[in-house]
């Protein structure tokens, strides 16, 4: 085990390979963590080893699931201390950063932490996860692992075992942050296990944009690459959180994530998960309306092309009276792209007077593409309004012809119609820079 080293060359970063117990030990040593932390990580690793990979929800590509990821060929972390040398950002879109607050993590290391003046001025706190653990341990320990317990499944346990990178955002009561906070997780060679914790206290307001991307790898000795993340979002009474998670990884990268938000009394949560990249992807987004009068708007979209296989689930739980949810998922598949979208509305007995709507819309762009669209309802109270619906279709010939009759060539018309189909989600993202980036990512897939 090499000692921690700053600014080492790429060659010096070569690390033992494989997701192993030794890797957990090595990471603990690298980060100079306490024995308590080490034990917690090893305990989580034991759970990871014990639990099976979650079963695929894909009907036609069940083999393209997480069990197919060769973890023995993954690099669990890079042998560099936290806060390594600066790297260029933006693997796919090389535009200058547009968010006033930006944290960039490359292979798990924070290379950029730039915060808008309003953060310090308002008493808010934003830092990479490890920094936050040092600087605000009480905050992190009070919340982390509460919404998504380590033992939720095999991969939440793996995240807890190899956790590195990620972000902590804390917004004190009554504080409104006007500038979005952007977290950019970039991976090069190492697999990453980021954890995001957002805590908006009563009456606070914040917008977080998470971008997950990779740099393409060339050559023969290419490691398996995995992004395994956990996100926890705590929305206090009357608070407002907008959270967009935009994933555009290369196709050799596998991704698994669990994000869960708990929404307090009269609070609102906007969640926009966008899945464009990755080869084998499993994402679970979950909003729990805990407080009376709380509401959520979920706008999810995905686009599976080539050989991509996306196994996605969205769930809204109404756990208090007079809660409301409006969830819309739009997904497209081209080439041999496969996707499964399970949407679920769950209304508990205590949630009288709640209203919920879930709409799945799927667009198939080639004969080999396939989308399973599975909306579900569980309702335990009669005094509620719930709607769910799913549609699946192809691009309408008449719409194509209409565009062509306006001088737009057929290919351009197709692109326009697909972008339009996915745009309800794109429009829900309040940052113009992130929106433009997303549109470019989608166009690159067309």
């Amino acid at each position: 085990m090499a000692s921690p080293e700053r600014g080492g060359s790429a060659a010096a970063q070569a690390v033992e390979r494989g997701i192993t117990r030794e890797a957990v030990d090595g990471l603990t040593a690298l980060l100079a963590e306490s024995e308590l932390d080490r034990r917690a990580r090893l305990k989580a690793f034991a759970i990871f080893e014990r639990l099976p990979s979650p079963p695929s929800r894909l009907s036609r590509a069940a083999k393209r699931n997480l069990a197919a990821v060769d973890l023995a060929r993954a690099i669990p972390y890079l042998d560099l201390a936290q806060d390594g040398e600066p790297a260029t950002v933006g693997a796919h879109g090389e535009e200058p950063a547009e968010s006033a607050s930006l944290v960039v993590l490359v292979d798990g290391r924070a290379v950029t932490v730039r915060l808008a003046p309003e953060i310090a001025a308002s008493g808010a706190y934003v830092a990479p996860f490890e920094t936050a653990l040092r600087e605000r341990p009480e905050l992190v320990r009070a919340h982390s692992g509460r919404l998504v317990p380590d033992d939720s499944d095999r991969f939440t346990a793996l995240n807890a075992a190899l956790r590195r990178g990620g972000l902590v955002v804390h917004v004190p009561a009554g504080v409104t942050l006007n500038e979005p906070i952007e977290l950019r997780t970039v991976i090069e060679r190492a697999s990453v296990f980021p954890r995001v914790l957002v805590v908006a206290e009563d009456g606070a307001s914040v917008q977080v944009i998470e971008r997950i991307e990779s740099r393409p790898l060339q050559g023969d000795a290419v490691p398996a690459r995995l992004v395994c993340s956990v996100g926890e979002i705590v929305v206090g009474r009357g608070a407002s959180v907008r959270y967009a998670a935009l994933q555009h990884l290369d196709e050799d990268v596998a991704e698994v994530s669990v994000r869960r938000a708990s929404v307090g009394r009269d609070a609102t949560m906007v969640l926009a998960p966008v899945v464009l990249g990755g080869g084998i992807v499993r994402e679970d987004a979950d909003v729990v309306l805990e407080g009376e009068g709380s509401s959520t708007r979920v706008r999810g979209c995905f686009f599976a092309s080539g050989e991509q296989a996306f196994d996605l689930a969205g769930r809204v739980t109404h756990a208090a009276p007079h809660t409301s949810a409006d969830a819309v998922f739009h997904g497209a598949a081209s080439g041999a792209g496969q996707a499964s979208l399970s949407g679920m509305i769950s209304i508990r007995e205590c949630a009288a007077g709640s209203e919920s709507s879930l709409k799945n819309r799927a667009l198939l762009l080639s004969p080999k593409a396939h989308i399973d669209s599975v909306p579900g309802l569980e309702i335990a109270n009669n005094d509620v309004k719930a709607y769910h619906g799913a549609t699946i279709g192809e691009i309408d010939e008449e719409t194509l012809f209409y565009c062509q009759s306006r001088g737009i060539p057929r290919d351009a018309a197709r692109r326009m119609i697909i972008l339009g189909f996915l745009s309800p989600v794109v429009d829900a993202i309040a940052s113009p820079g992130a929106r433009a980036w997303l549109e470019r990512c989608i166009e690159a897939k067309l």
Binding site: D396, E397, E398, T399, F401, Y402, C403, Q404, S405, R406, G407, I408, P409, R410, A412, M416, I417, L419, G420, F421, L422, S423, P424
Partner: protein, 255 residues
């Protein structure tokens, strides 16, 4: 080069069934032609065949636009040549705003003539004012959740912004109540005044819209053929008597 939208001996089939059985028709620049006829006579087939809808197969004849062979071109190039169709049932494009659609289409129609955003906005605002339309429509998705009247007015706005040489208005009056019909009729008149050189082919089943829009020439189609032609008074006659007398005349002539 023959000026005008010129159709000669056009035969068109849909799924091997012949609908148009030899159409001869010339739409002149700057003139308004009405193409009238009962339901099922083939009027809309003509508009789709000229604009290049893939479902319609031309089996014989020619169609030229100021000398350009339309039938040799894919649909978007026919539009670039200067042909516009106001659809009877315009498609909706969820997620694409009217503003973006107008801009994308206009630059596709005139690739060499890109307007800077401010100038384009000005053009659209001017045309909306001309048509008495609210700018709020620009941010809505194209025809998505539009009323029948709104759809037809957006077609008129497109015609105004694209400035075609020839425009076919396919049943622009269908499905509209009296007020909406009046608004659309006035829109067409405003467009004619604004841009006098556009040749119009107004396809209609009912002569109602012709109260607002006096045609220079009226063509009557029945069973895939033009059976009678005349001036505006022919439309008045159809208004009074319907199509039956003409049908009998034609049948008598054949017999």
């Amino acid at each position: 080069m023959e000026k005008g939208l010129v159709v000669r001996g056009l035969r068109v089939a849909v799924e091997s069934v012949e609908i148009l059985k030899g159409i001869d028709l010339t739409v002149e620049s700057g003139r308004a032609h009405a193409l009238m006829g009962p339901n099922g006579s083939g009027k809309s087939t003509l508009s789709f065949a000229l604009t290049g809808h893939p479902k319609y197969t031309v089996t014989a004849g020619t169609a030229t636009l100021d000398g350009v062979d339309l039938l040799a071109l894919p649909p978007h190039e026919r539009a670039r040549a200067g042909l516009f169709l106001s659809f009877q049932y315009p498609a909706s494009i969820p997620g694409v705003s009217v503003a973006n659609f107008l801009r994308g289409a206009r630059s596709a129609l005139r690739p060499g003539e890109a307007l800077p955003p401010a100038k384009f906005k000005r053009l659209v605002t001017d045309k909306m004012e001309l048509l008495g339309m609210e700018p709020s429509m620009l941010t809505r998705y194209v025809n998505d959740g539009f009323s029948g009247g709104e759809k037809k007015r957006l077609e008129m706005l497109q015609m105004a912004v694209f400035e075609p040489k020839y425009a076919i208005l396919d049943e622009t009056d269908s499905g509209l109540d009296v007020d909406a019909l009046k608004a659309v009729g006035e829109s067409v008149n405003a467009l004619r005044a604004d841009r006098a050189e556009t040749g119009l082919l107004v396809i209609t089943h009912y002569p109602r819209i012709l109260q607002y829009l006096r045609p220079d020439r009226v063509h009557v189609m029945m069973d895939g053929r033009i059976v009678k032609e005349g001036g505006a008074d022919l439309a008045d006659r159809i208004e009074r008597e319907g199509y039956d007398p003409i049908r009998e005349e034609v049948a008598g002539g054949v017999a």
